[in-house]
């Protein structure tokens, strides 16, 4: 048996938007001992269809089982294995950061550099919206961490396969 290294994988799942579909997916992961790092789900432009993006860790064997097991679920229409195809992905984070007299300018500089947005302002805090890939969000969090983060809400990754080049 070849055991390969554990890696992070991104999987796209197109599902019928019926009651319990998310429970079936999440239950499959917990029941079989697979890991979910992030999961996002929302309806697509087509009524009745939901797209889920899920990030998991495991070796190649685990990934292959995950894809096959997901495909067995009746309400799942298509599974996109992004280990096989190129894809674009984005994540959004809301970050509430301490913004006192002395640090406000630095916060705004970081907002500027990372093309983030200030979405809420109060006497002592700014709430920022940052969109980007995971690396960018982590970088922002690291820099703001030195100033003082109060709360963070991250959406987790949303991903789509790149269109085929002609």
């Amino acid at each position: 048996m070849i055991i390969t290294e554990k890696q992070r994988y991104t999987i796209g799942i197109l599902v019928q938007n019926v009651p319990g579909v998310l429970a079936r997916i999440v239950g499959l992961f917990s029941g079989r001992g697979y890991n979910i790092e992030t999961i996002t789900a929302a309806e697509t432009h087509e009524p009745g269809l939901t797209r889920i993006t899920l990030v998991t860790t495991g070796d190649e064997r685990v990934l292959s089982q995950i894809i096959k097991q997901l495909n067995k679920l009746i309400n799942i229409i298509k599974v996109y294995d992004f280990a096989e195809t190129e894809f674009v992905d984005r994540e959004m984070a809301l970050i509430k950061v301490r913004a006192e007299q002395a640090t406000r300018a630095e916060v705004l500089r970081i907002v500027d550099i990372f093309r983030a947005k200030v979405v809420d302002v109060s006497p002592h805090f700014y709430t920022l919206e940052v969109t980007g890939n995971e690396g960018k969000i982590n970088a922002v969090l690291e820099l703001l961490g030195q100033i003082g983060i109060v709360e963070v809400a991250r959406t987790g990754k949303a991903a789509l396969a790149r269109s085929k080049k002609h």
Partner: protein
């Protein structure tokens, strides 16, 4: 014309060709029971809902048709869970209808409310909560379709009481629309060709067949392939009967099938385990490479390239790395392979395999399945050999789980598919007796025998009442050693003879118990009584419980200690 949900329920079942329902009523399903007498569908009233699920399972496994059970909400539903999980592990087509509290009460912890869809999600192929009367017929249509197609499995349909009471137009859908469900049945011909290229050059192939052979009804194809390739065949527990252990000569005499190795795995035959371990090609057909078969996975079939056909892609390369995966229905894949094989002259194949078959024959002669005969006490293996001999392999055999199950797999020679019904995957004690009742409903004229232990039989003994009340003449042969035999054997071999919890003294007098239910009870305590008791039981057209008082500390051999390679067999 508008119909009530309860009537639509029966109209749908009729469209699906359902002839029998195994069930137990309760508040949530009383509308269905109220409607039932108007329809020509037989209802078998069980004494415990687990029994209903196993009966539907036994009906399905023996006939290939979808088994149906109907239970009420709450405890009625939860009592079926073991039966559903049993069917799921062994890919049995079954539809379980559960009652549910009225939709406005769902989520309020109403009386007898349970989230049965949530509870059964991991052990069903699919499940439905019908929230709207207009969905009822579509859901039932889909449930039956899903249960029997692709890799079959149990489907749960949860029916809230108000939905069953509501009305709508009945129009049974002609087609199902399941955009996410497209099982691959047609095997990829390129892959089949690759498999053939490897098989024809192989010097030491082994065909390893499982329950998929029986589900896809490919016994003929398997026999043909084995013959064309002159390759020996072994089966998992679930595959027994899928390849004949014996063949009938032109003069009508049965002789052992020279290509048959017996079962493989933890209690497999010496020749099967040795053949797998020395093979250069393993050709898996409708199997899962379950841990009870492979033993220590890193030492399983160390020299072999592996070809694997399965209708479920997730069974392939799950436990062992496969060199040639073939996704598809076993029958389709084997038919394609036969066409490739037929292009090769069979004489060449026979010559190429001769040394391998000779080696296997040597293994077979070195360590045949055996047990020490005794003229004072009944040996459990002897009872099974007698049942096999006296039925000529023409009975449907069910088993519970434990030593008697393994002895049945070893000492009963299965020649035909669907003649062994046993809980292979989940290993459910209490399965065999209700499964036998289900099988007898599918085949009223056949001899159906549950081979049981004194432990297992007590897990669903209440169904004796069901058998008696409905004139279902199943036979039960209890191999009574007053122990939970397999745990006791493991404790003897691997747990310092610490027999905690495995002694079963204090069980009821099974003969009197049978009689109090209105069945016939028979007992044998000496070897010479075995045959007369069996003959009497087979003659009586009533349910019969036979109590064979057997030698207490008999072990199942060979046994591969857990975690060891399958070549490391303890032979006695």
């Amino acid at each position: 014309m508008k119909m009530k949900g309860s009537q639509i329920f029966f109209e749908c079942l009729k469209k699906e060709g359902v002839e029998v329902i195994f069930g137990f009523p309760g508040g949530a399903v009383l509308d269905i029971y109220h409607e039932m007498p108007k329809h020509d569908i037989r209802h078998i009233l069980v004494r415990h809902e687990q029994g209903a699920a196993h009966m539907a399972d036994g009906y399905a496994r023996s006939s290939g048709r979808v088994g149906v059970c109907l239970v009420t909400s709450g405890p009625g539903a939860t009592n079926t869970v073991t039966g559903i999980a049993t069917a799921y592990m062994d890919s049995v087509p079954m539809v379980v209808f559960t009652g549910q509290v009225p939709t406005p009460l769902i989520g309020d912890d109403a009386f007898q409310e349970v989230d049965i869809i949530g509870i059964t999600r991991p052990c069903t192929k699919h499940s439905y909560l019908v929230r709207n009367i207009n969905d009822l017929q579509t859901v039932i249509r889909e449930a039956f379709y899903l249960a029997r197609t692709g890799r079959p499995g149990p489907v749960v349909v949860d029916l809230p009481k108000d939905v069953i009471q509501a009305q709508t137009e009945f129009k049974y859908p002609k087609k199902v629309d399941l955009p996410g469900y497209h099982p691959t049945l047609e095997a990829h011909s390129g892959q089949v060709k690759r498999a053939h290229d490897i098989l024809k050059k192989s010097k030491a192939p082994v065909i390893f067949a499982g329950g998929g052979i029986i589900i896809s009804e490919s016994t003929r194809e398997l026999m043909k392939i084995a013959n064309l390739l002159q390759a020996p065949v072994t089966c998992s527990l679930m595959g027994l009967g899928g390849f004949p252990a014996g063949v009938t000569d032109s003069d009508g005499r049965r002789r052992p099938n020279p290509l048959w190795l017996g079962m493989v795995g933890m209690h497999g035959t010496y020749q099967a385990n040795m053949a797998i371990s020395h093979a250069d090609v393993i050709f898996g057909v409708g199997v899962r490479f379950d841990d009870r078969v492979t033993g220590k996975i890193s030492e399983f079939a160390p020299k072999a390239r592996i070809i694997h056909i399965d209708v479920d892609p997730s069974s392939i390369s799950k436990n062992v790395d496969v060199d040639v995966p073939i996704v598809g229905d076993c029958k389709n894949a084997l038919q394609q392979l036969i066409r490739f094989c037929e292009a090769e002259p069979i004489e060449n194949q026979a010559a190429a395999r001769r040394p391998w078959l000779e080696q296997i024959d040597k293994w077979r002669k070195d360590h045949p399945l055996t047990y020490s005969k005794d003229c004072e006490v009944i040996k459990p293996q002897y009872v099974i050999e007698k049942i096999c001999e006296m039925t000529g392999g023409n009975a449907i055999i069910t088993t519970e789980v434990g030593q008697h199950q393994m002895w049945t797999a070893q000492f009963y020679e299965f020649d035909r598919p669907r003649t062994l019904l046993t809980s292979g995957g989940l290993g459910t004690m209490g399965y065999g007796f209700p499964a036998a009742i289900g099988a007898q409903m599918a085949f009223p004229d056949k001899l159906v025998i549950d081979i049981a232990g004194d432990g297992s039989i007590q897990m669903n003994i209440q169904e004796l009442c069901t058998a008696v009340c409905n004139d279902i003449p199943v036979k039960v042969a209890i191999l009574n050693n007053k122990y939970l035999g397999l745990p006791r054997q493991w404790q003897e071999l691997f747990y310092e003879k610490n027999y905690t919890g495995s002694c079963l003294e204090g069980s009821p007098d099974f003969v009197k118990l049978a009689e109090s239910y209105g069945a016939v009870g028979l007992r044998a305590v000496k070897p010479e009584e075995v045959e007369p008791v069996l003959r009497e039981a087979f003659r009586i057209k009533k349910p019969v419980l036979m109590d064979f008082v057997v030698s207490r500390e008999e072990g199942v051999y060979p046994i591969v200690p857990p975690g060891k390679s399958i070549t490391e067999m303890l032979l006695a």
